[in-house]
Symmetry: C2
Subunit: 209 residues, 2 copies
DNA sequence: AATAGAACCGGACCGTGGTCCGTTTGGGCT
DNA sequence: AGCCCAAACGGACCACGGTCCGGTTCTATT
């Protein structure tokens, strides 16, 4: 604990450098990280829905209560896990290379967005399902995608109720819909994607003047 | 039990009149019905997700094991409950009065379908959520709506991958999407509906010749 | 450095969904 | 009517998500 390397520092950094809730105690932060790591390991060892909260707690070396203190619920924990990848994906959209990131023309970006979102959703399907309406879905991730699509539609001079239209474009990329098509009906992913691109073009196409 | 009224009959009806699994024992049928009724009563007494399987069993006067034998799981029970209303709705679509039922022109039918589906989904949102992927969602109800929309799109001379396009039209009417817009974002139902109708028109509109 | 108090920790505890298996019941057959 | 077995029953039992509260550890203050 009295590590000579960190000793010279004037103790804890008092400055509330970046916002967030007042401060987080150091042990709390450590435990949060340990839990996240433990959960991640267990997830890709046993599969998402064979991971029990107890197991996560044990592997992280903390009590069960701690898990629930930090992440509210099982859904909350999964949502936290999800946020990690979601965040890097969002970064790619905001400032990554075209055509997903800025630089390409809006229609290209929209199509790239659809493809990327579809793949990402399918890859994390289990996790997303397990996260339920908590965390990511509840306004964090959803509202990001909605805003982005709405912006692109605006750039493309689409007329109409943009927020609602954007939602309509996002809806077919949700887990239950995708799984219905891919897992149950057995449609190839490419076919579903092509369908979505067709949809996008129909939505964007200007009204016959 | 030796009821004189049923006595005269030549015992049980041997003919496998209508298919289904071989036969269902009479007590089994009685219990199924009792459970359904009990569940229904409890649902609109306490609200869907305050209903426990134990409570249903007790109220129906059977053991818990029986509930699970008949309905697999909690989701299964809820799905069974859902199927009742879903069935009468399907009947309205197939053979009810226009514009929902046959008789009106396809575009009117499509718009009527959207409105009706949206209202129904919103009304049964809790139940649908509780039913999860079991029963109704898993192929029973979904495939019906998909087929219907696909048929209407065909009548409207829409070109493209009709099954996928139909799915895309259905997706914004799913519970999570609807709730996001109505409950979270606070959009009025009319606005969401108008947005869907706009979407439908954009999908149907023929490619600029 | 010592103190006070807030935040955190941990694991016993509870309710509910789901399983199991010994027992009962229904109904075709003789 | 009586027999027999498959099917159905029922409730004890288990696992897991979630809560609670007494004890511990950190941080701000003097």
């Amino acid at each position: 604990m009295t590590d000579p390397l960190s000793g010279p520092l004037p103790g804890p950094v008092l400055l509330p450098l970046l916002g967030g809730p007042p401060t987080e105690r150091r042990d709390a932060a450590r435990n949060r990280e340990a839990l996240l790591v433990a959960a991640e390991e267990l997830v890709d060892a046993c599969g998402v829905d064979h991971v029990t909260m107890d197991a996560v707690a044990v592997r992280a070396g903390v009590g069960k209560g701690t898990v629930f203190r930090r992440f509210e619920s099982r859904e909350g924990l999964m949502a936290a896990l999800l946020d990690r990848s979601e965040t890097v994906w969002q970064a790619a959209v905001i400032s990554g290379p075209p055509p997903l990131g800025p630089g390409a023309d809006p229609m290209e970006r929209l199509l790239a967005f659809g493809r990327s979102r579809l793949e990402t959703t399918l890859r994390h399907a289990e996790l997303i399902r397990a996260a339920g309406r908590a965390g990511s879905r509840s306004y964090a991730a959803w509202s990001f995608t909605a805003m982005h699509v709405r912006y692109l539609l605006g750039e493309l001079d689409v007329r109409g109720d943009l927020p609602v239209l954007a939602t309509a474009l996002l809806a077919p990329l949700e887990v239950p819909v995708l799984e219905q098509q891919v897992r149950v009906e057995g449609f190839p992913v490419d076919r579903v994607l092509a369908g979505w691109e067709d949809l996008a073009r129909r939505v964007v196409r200007p009204p016959d003047a």
